[in-house]
């Protein structure tokens, strides 16, 4: 059937009538919501969706406001990256097995992509996967893994063929984070806390049934994940933004205001408004079936704005800006760019131009794919991975 706003709203209300959130166990409620196709309406029927247009999710969220949610901040990587990849490349068994507990939050996911020697140049990664019968044996080290300490599963890219150029010898797996040989160590950041981890993989054995996509096709599968990551970081609409946080500080501390800061803050307010309008225009283009290249720039703009705003807030606070809320080596379960206090926000925002594609790489992408400028030299394009200098 073809879904529209009215029929989706009707379905959500019918679901609520049958499942009283006050009288149902939280997890049971979420499982039932998934089974009713109201988890992510653009997913297929039977996999938590209705096969409906993505924008109708807002209708469901509106109808179900105030009911138990899946605490999206805790399972962002599963929702934003693992799920679209599993949907695009998973077998029917994999989709059936993984998507439901992923969405309900029963199983947390993390991402085993970056390595100490493979950051912007992810395709040069060195973690090996060697086939032994129906199993793969994984050895290597991953880094910048948020949620690894809470995760049940991971999406993993590993090298299955070192004898071909770097992009061609990769395979994509689902990694069991409880398997023997998986060791998670916290990685302390400039904020004091350890939101990220290092993950050491030593002789980890994964059944072939946890492979996602074809052997050697891992780079293509990973592209789906990474495109979704940039959308997740750059495009998340949220009520609480860095602008609203800093504006609140400005309003509540009139004694700290200066004319210089006022002009700079107003400029950033304009920047935030222009970014919002750009996003509105981008969504209109998507809805009209003409996706524009503007999306490539959103994360770049978001990182710059967050950094400038959070920097201005610390400066504005003067003596309070000299203090820091807490250097304790903590392990948070969620990522919140605008949480805690000004000093934390300032330091955390530094990651915005690094994580999920550095601003420098994004500028290359815009210059090459949008403006058509010459590509960076690729000395390693036709060289077997094992022969690359490192």
């Amino acid at each position: 059937m073809t879904w529209d706003e009215a029929s989706v709203a009707e379905r959500a209300r019918a679901f609520l009538a049958e499942h009283d959130p006050a009288a149902t166990d939280r997890l049971e409620f979420l499982r039932a919501r998934f089974d009713a196709g109201l988890a992510w309406v653009h997913f297929p029927e039977g996999l938590g969706g209705l096969g409906a247009p993505r924008e109708l999710q807002a209708v469901v969220d509106r109808e179900l406001r105030g009911t138990p949610d899946n605490r999206p901040g805790r399972i962002g990587i599963g929702l934003g990256m693992a799920a679209p990849t599993i949907l695009a490349f998973g077998t029917e068994e994999q989709k059936k097995r993984f998507l439901r507990p992923l969405w309900t939050g029963e199983e947390v996911w993390c991402q085993l992509f970056s390595e100490p020697g493979a950051g912007s140049d992810l395709a040069t990664l060195a973690t090996r996967a060697v086939r032994e019968g129906d199993e793969w044996v994984i050895d290597g080290q991953k880094v910048w893994t948020s949620s690894a300490h809470t995760a049940r599963w991971a999406i993993l890219v590993a090298r299955t063929d070192p004898d071909v150029p770097k992009h061609r010898g990769l395979t994509y797996f689902i990694c069991d984070m409880h398997a023997p040989g998986v060791e998670v160590r916290p990685l302390r950041q400039i904020t004091g806390e350890a939101e990220f981890n290092e993950v050491f993989l030593t002789g980890v054995r994964l059944p072939d049934s946890l492979r996602l996509g074809e052997v050697g096709d891992g780079w293509r599968v990973a592209q789906t994940t990474l495109m979704n990551e940039r959308v997740a970081i750059g495009g998340t609409p949220s009520r609480r933004t860095m602008m609203s946080v800093v504006a609140e500080t400005w309003r509540s501390r009139p004694e700290l205001r200066t004319h210089d800061l006022h002009q700079r803050l107003l400029k950033l307010w304009v920047d935030a408004e222009v970014m919002r309008l750009t996003a509105v225009r981008l969504r209109e283009q998507l809805a009209a079936g003409h996706p524009g290249p503007e999306g490539s720039g959103m994360k770049l703009a978001f990182a710059r704005l967050n950094q400038e705003l959070s920097g201005l807030e610390v400066e504005l606070l003067r003596e309070d800006g000299l203090a820091y809320d807490d250097w304790t080596f903590r392990r948070p379960e969620t990522v919140d760019f605008v949480g805690r206090e000004a000093g934390y926000r300032y330091l955390r925002a530094k990651g915005n131009s690094i994580e999920g594609g550095t601003s420098e790489i994004l500028r290359n992408i815009i210059a090459e794919r949008v403006l058509g400028l010459p590509a960076e030299p690729r000395a390693d394009k036709d060289v077997a991975w094992k022969d690359l200098p490192r």
Partner: protein
């Protein structure tokens, strides 16, 4: 409301662009600007006729019942994008936007008659107010209406006056203020020889110079009058003009970005196109992002202005959209033109390359109708970010 372009707008753009491509390439504009010292202001009367009368851009903002096209700020914005892209020396902004908007706000019989003439494309008008005036602090009238019904006084910084048949001038009245229409040509019925003198000032912007307009007992008709010191006709014209100027700035920025990208692909140094160096690629990627934002902001201003009533004060949403568009697009056009000059290297510094026409237009536009700082300050209220006390 949409921030995209409608089919009608794209058709209008195509017509304007085709005409400009045929008759107004950068080399022709440069010629005209270079000859201005000998042959006077750079305005291209033939091109203006073709635009105003044949394509009908002069009457876009004029309602159908007064003989106009009854279109909106959205269509006018598309025309301005194209004119900005060509740095076209035509009095569109001065006549079809600023003067037209002043008359629309004034209303009444004289305004209606003048709007009909403007919409036909046979008459051109100019608003005799400094182009540097801010809509947030409109200047008090410097001209006076005498008891004999003539206007006297000197207004500086006026654009489009050389091309104007009719000058609209704010005047002081014994009990308030008014807007008068003065026929600029001595041959016009009711005009007097030597009563209006327009002197072109040597201007930063070669394609839209400013002029000093002197009225010496010039016969005038009163278009509108009001008690007190408020000049709603001028305020509305400046505010709406500022919102539409953002689209001209977008056009300027687009030409600069496109031209620069094309050049750095061709120009080779160190046996490589200079556009293959990251130092250049990254600057152009950043500029592209600014232009993408400028398009969203300019479109938003045009769409909000189109929704606002043609006369009467702008609502809060439209006023915010105008201020945001100006605060962003002014600096973006300047940045684009500066990058254009820099990334063209030595050739960008020469008179023979048209980049400087755009730099001069962009810098003048940044000052025009309120500086970016004026527009930012105007946002302090709506954004609830109060100034220091």
């Amino acid at each position: 409301m949409t921030l995209l372009y409608t089919e009608v707008e794209e058709e209008l753009r195509a017509a304007v662009r085709a005409l400009l491509a045929d008759t107004c390439p950068p080399s022709a504009v440069l010629d005209r600007a270079s000859r201005a010292a000998e042959s006077g202001p750079p305005y291209d009367a033939e091109l203006w006729k073709a635009l105003a009368r044949d394509i009908g851009v002069a009457g876009l903002l004029v309602p159908e019942e007064l003989g106009g096209a009854g279109a909106s700020a959205r269509e006018a914005a598309v025309v301005l994008e194209e004119l900005g892209r060509a740095a076209a020396p035509v009095p569109y902004l001065s006549s079809a936007v600023l003067a037209t908007q002043a008359l629309l706000t004034a209303g009444g019989q004289v305004a209606g008659e003048l709007l009909g003439r403007l919409a036909e494309g046979e008459t051109t008008a100019a608003l005799a107010v400094s182009f540097a005036a801010s809509p947030y602090a409109p200047p008090a009238p410097v001209a006076t209406l005498g008891e004999d019904g003539t206007v006297s006084g000197t207004v500086t910084g006026v654009i489009g006056a050389e091309a104007a048949d009719v000058l609209l001038v704010p005047v002081r009245l014994p009990h308030g203020v008014g807007l008068c229409a003065v026929e600029a040509s001595p041959a016009a019925p009711g005009a007097a020889e030597g009563a209006v003198r327009v002197t072109t000032v040597t201007s930063l912007d070669l394609t839209r110079p400013i002029a000093t307009v002197e009225f010496a007992s010039a016969p005038a008709r009163v278009v509108a009058e009001a008690d007190g010191l408020e000049l709603p006709w001028v305020w509305e014209a400046l505010a709406r003009g500022a919102g539409l100027l953002a689209s001209e700035q977008l056009g300027v920025a687009e030409w600069c970005l496109t031209t620069t990208v094309a050049y750095v692909k061709e120009r080779k140094q160190f046996a490589r196109p200079v556009g293959s160096f990251q130092a250049i690629k990254h600057r152009l990627a950043d500029l592209w992002l600014e232009v993408v934002g400028a398009r969203a902001a300019a479109r938003n201003a045009a769409a909000r202005l189109a929704e606002a009533p043609a006369a009467g004060p702008l609502g809060d949403e439209a006023a915010v959209a105008v201020a945001v568009a100006q605060a962003h697009c002014g600096p973006v056009a300047v940045h684009a033109a500066e990058e254009c000059v820099q990334l063209h290297g030595g050739i960008g510094m020469t008179w023979e390359h048209p980049a400087h026409l755009y730099l001069k237009r962009a810098k003048a536009d940044q000052i025009a109708l309120g500086t970016p700082g004026d527009h930012r300050e105007a946002l302090a209220g709506p954004a609830d970010l109060p100034a220091p006390v």
